[in-house]
Structure formats: structure tokens, C-alpha cells
Symmetry: C2
Subunit: 151 residues, 2 copies
Amino acid sequence: MRVTQAGEYALLGVLYLARQPVGQLTMIDQISEAEKIPKSFLAKIFQSLTHAGLVKSRQGAKGGFALSRKAEDISVLNVLEAIEGKLALQRCLEEVPDCERRDNCTLCAVFGEVQNKVNEVFSRTSVRDLMKPKDAVVRQVQQIAQVKSVN
Amino acid sequence: MRVTQAGEYALLGVLYLARQPVGQLTMIDQISEAEKIPKSFLAKIFQSLTHAGLVKSRQGAKGGFALSRKAEDISVLNVLEAIEGKLALQRCLEEVPDCERRDNCTLCAVFGEVQNKVNEVFSRTSVRDLMKPKDAVVRQVQQIAQVKSVN
DNA sequence: TTTAATTAAGAGTAAATTTATCCGATTTAC
DNA sequence: GTAAATCGGATAAATTTACTCTTAATTAAA
């Protein structure tokens, strides 16, 4: 039950871009080195981020990547879903669920509720938030988690 | 970011045992058939459950499995951890974490908080709870999730 | 206009993990 | 003793994850 390595790398990459001056293009090489992420793997990951519209790229000399919108408008969930697709803690929660029990399965229900919470935290936490001091982030996440979900 | 198939099978298996009369031994064959789980895989899974002390087994003719304690004293987390080990949404949250950033990583902090919530729901939801009507379970889980964590 | 730098795209592969099966050993009831 | 069941170890098959490579397209600057 783990986020993929690619998902984590994506978050680190986006976070790195968020720390650069706005409008500045940053090369994969630089991010790869700074964050100790295999270059070619990171390149692949950034392709997905570009397709998802989270970062914009420019090819050729002096090319590179930059966030395509403000860091506060990119959620952790945006980044994770760009890489992994819709999060699903369990088969039943997949976009095309393949669970026969389906209707009366309390197991699916429990996982479903947990999934809702997880999504809520990740969608209400922005890349900008990740730049705050650690304890501030922790406080914020705790607050989000306690709020009654809107379903 | 998904629970393993084995973990889900384990929950279904334990839930099945919970529905049987107390003290009655149930064979793998029966559970496997009822829940449509490959027999030899389920057998393996039940070995783990036995080792974890969640179910007791008896070998030989008329052997089988039964819960080793009351369904209300077995949490969803107990079952999942018996199969998957400690849950970890991310590398940093592993029992032996291998994250260099470690100290000031807000990413780890966010995942850590989410993990706390997840664990809280799973540990406060018992196998007995899974036998209740679906909407009762949903309500209960929502309530657990809203409560401030104790850290 | 040529060249060097850089991303895009996609095929390919290696390693790890998960899922599943098999089989001989062991235990137990009868 | 024999049949019925789990135990345990090995391993095979499938899937996912992690990563590499190659070729092409694009761009800036010499």
C-alpha cells in the first residue's frame, strides 16, 4: 500500500520547480542532480506531468520545464494522479471496478471512506503548502483530516 | 497505492470465519469456494494469519481454522499487517526508513499524517464491525476519521 | 545555415514484488 | 494404518516498478 517511486519523484520534481524564480526554465539534469533522481526516469515522469498540464516544457537549447500554474493551484493529488491515475486503495475503488461483491460489501465501504479522506487531504494540500515549515504543514493536514467530508 | 490482493483475501477469509458458529473449525476448501479465492493461495495466507495469532489452526482430519479471539477484538489493521507488515504509504514511513531527506521533508510529514489517519480507521474498525449493515459501517468510519488523532 | 543543446516519444529491459501453485512432510481422527 | 487436513519450503507465472536507450523533433546561437 505504497505510493509509487515515480509518484514521489514527481512531487519532489514539482516542488523543486516551485522553488525556482517564476518563469525560469529548469533542466531535467539540474533537478535530477539536486534531488538525486535517475535522470532518464525523471525525464519520463516529467513527460507525464507535461501531458497532465501541470508543467510546461520547452524543447531545444535553453529549454527546460516550469510549472504551468502557480504552486498554490497545484495539489498533491494533481501530481499523484498525473503519474498513477486515480488513486484506488482497493479493486472496488478502481475507475472500472472489478469486484463481484460490490453491492453489500462493507469492506469496499470501509476502504471507500478511507479513500475519501486520503483524497481530501491530498487535494487540499498544494505544492505551495509543501514549501511551508514542516510543523505548519502538519498542523494544516491534521485540520483537513478532521473536517467532515462532503459526500 | 493499493492494498495487496492477499490482504483483501485475508480480510474476506477472517470475515468468513467470523460468520461461523464460535468454536467451529472451517476448512480452507470451504472458504476458498465460498469467497472465490484460489485455494492454495488462501492456504498460504492463512499460514500468515496463524503465525500472527489471529486464527488458530488444527491439522489433520476434521482440522481447519477458527478465529483465535472474538471478532470485535480483531481489527482490520491486525489482519492487513499480518499479511503486509506495517503499512507504509511511502518509503519514509517504512519501519527502517530509507529517506535521506528525512529531517525537514514536508512530503514525509504529509504522508505521515495521512498514514496516521488511515491506521486510526483501520485499527478502530473490527472484523465484527464489518458484519454490520453497510451504512452503519460507513457512519462509524466517518466518525473515526473526524476525531483528532492522538499523537 | 549549421551545430549543439535539449525535450518528446516510445520501445525495450531488468529487477522486484505479488500472485499462485506444487509437493512432500506432518499431524490428527477414525 | 489410512484418509484428511494443515505446514512449510520451493518455485513458477504474472504483474508492476524502475529505469535505459534510441531516434526524432525543436530551438537557440554561432
